[in-house]
Assembly symmetry: C2
Homo-oligomer: 329 residues x 2
């Protein structure tokens, strides 16, 4: 596929070449510059943000459209990262001021970042505008932004077949009512153990999962960091089945930078789904494995470095390793 | 099989009936009385101890012989629990005084117990004596006791084909030299994440695993609590294979009492191995699943209640659920 980010005619071309625009996903979230310190070193001003990690991870599976805001410091070099992966950035709003900046440190416990600074900058007043051409995209991912903005985006898209959504402790605690409204209009919520327990007010994971599902989503993906992820289904959602499903994570010898692992997971998960005709439980299970695979690649290098240089062959080879990791003959 | 704990003639009978004594396992460890408080309630003076949980879990797979010490408060009622599972308690030493007692509490975080009291009692001077009839048992499990005692037991058994071993932070910190000697004579070490990282002095799990394997064991099982377990192999041990293997754990809605989960895991793991003719990587992988299965049953009721009332059919049904939990078509 030869896709150049540009006028609508190119977009049309994709429609024709790939037969349908259904094979695409729209992500709304942050694009940022990050400073990261981990036991492996320190990097400054590297391209980051949930929408960036998500887009790059999903780009190996499907056409990605991005809606985000950047400042005047976002230049051709950063744009090129998206272009190299045929990511459609017509929805990237340019605002006066600086791009969102985040600084974090990881010590030996690579599971948790210590935030050193958060400069929201242009992100502070971000109101996502969905370009007309994106409105009939069939897959949507609402990365971690204010819940009402998430819900508004969802409502402005008429043809969406499946909506994935992320959130965080800040919104769970600070805007629970708004978040509850958002959860009514999303299909799959992807959060981690702590967030799930906090959202449900319940310390037991499967019971917490049932409570969260009762809030709206058809499926709930709980990410366990280095231990993989579990997907819980509403009864009857995506077919029949009694039990949740768990995908492992590969034990990785060198985790250089865990930043963006969750967003890369979401990109692999949602990107794979957007590439599938049927959304069955089996599809969602495979998506859970692909999520783990993309998360495992992301942490091997600082920032998006590893996600920028992958091949689909490498991804599928690691998928097989993940499968073997828990496969009994 | 009709096996009554009693004189050596019965033991001989087993040898004849089952063709070989190879289908048995010896466990050396603690038998205790526990007081446990969890969000589900409080129980007092219930039968516990690593050797008890291990024996009951392993008894569904193989003949179990126990070496432990109990006090005068250990009566016919407790004996009957072992007898009901054909567990050979001729190695159960009766000493003057009280049996080992432990009290612990679990709050919402069921992964960690707060120890309220530890009365070693007769366990304080325990020096395991291996009955002559046990010496050619082919499988051995050294539950969590002082490392030199563990090594002495191993050395006194000539026909052992596979030795499993547990330990804890107390010995890792307090008697590292003694533990290092023990690790040279065991085949499979079963510990949790924190213990593995402490033993290796390394925060990264797969790197910690490599360091622990270099200390002696052929395989290392790292238990992740509610997230399952991973087995790492020395190169060439138990056949060929590049990667570790991970078994999931079933998300359980009601965890009543996590006490003994690790020992039940070890009982399922080692018991299954002792029932197998060949020890291949595939056998060890299945054993890892059976370990998780027995651990998941143990926590459903206080103490050993659930382990006392199982059937092999229930165990195999849950094994299938565990398999489905990560199985892609």
């Amino acid at each position: 596929m030869l896709y150049v980010v540009g006028p609508a005619t190119n977009h049309q071309k994709i429609r024709t070449n790939r037969e349908t625009i259904k094979m695409s996903i729209l992500v709304v979230g942050s694009v940022a510059f990050d400073d990261v310190t981990s036991p492996s070193g320190t990097v400054k001003n590297i391209l980051g943000g949930a929408a960036t990690y998500f887009s790059l991870a999903a780009s190996y599976f499907t056409q990605v459209h991005v809606v985000a805001v950047v400042g005047e410091d976002f230049g051709p070099e950063q744009e090129q990262v998206f272009r190299n992966h045929n990511i459609d950035i017509r929805g990237l709003e340019r605002a006066k001021g600086k791009t969102f900046r985040w600084g974090g440190s990881y010590t030996d416990n690579l599971n948790e970042a210590k935030t050193n600074f958060t400069d929201l900058n242009v992100f502070e007043t971000f109101h996502p505008q969905i370009p007309k051409e994106y409105e009939d995209t069939e897959f949507l991912f609402l990365a971690n932004i204010q819940p009402t903005l998430q819900a508004n985006v969802r409502r402005s898209m008429n043809g969406v077949r499946l909506t994935g959504c992320d959130t965080m402790n800040y919104w769970i605690k600070g805007t629970p009512k708004e978040l509850a409204e958002t959860l009514k209009v999303v299909d799959v919520l992807l959060i981690n153990d702590t967030e799930a327990k906090m959202l449900a007010g319940e310390a037991n994971l499967p019971r917490a999962a049932q409570k969260v599902l009762a809030m709206g989503p058809q499926a709930l993906v709980i990410k366990h960091g280095e231990y993989g992820a579990t997907i819980f289904f509403r009864e009857g959602a995506f077919g029949v089945g009694r039990h949740p499903f768990r995908a492992p994570s590969l034990p990785i010898e060198e985790v250089k930078d865990p930043t963006g692992a969750g967003d890369s997971f979401a990109g692999g998960f949602m990107g794979y789904l957007a590439s599938q005709k049927k959304l069955t439980r089996e599809t969602l299970k495979r998506a859970l494995f692909y999520g783990g695979v993309m998360g495992s690649f992301a942490v091997e290098r600082f920032g998006t470095e590893r996600l920028q240089s992958l091949t689909r062959e490498e991804i599928d080879a690691r998928f097989e390793i993940f499968r073997e990791l828990t496969h009994l003959e």
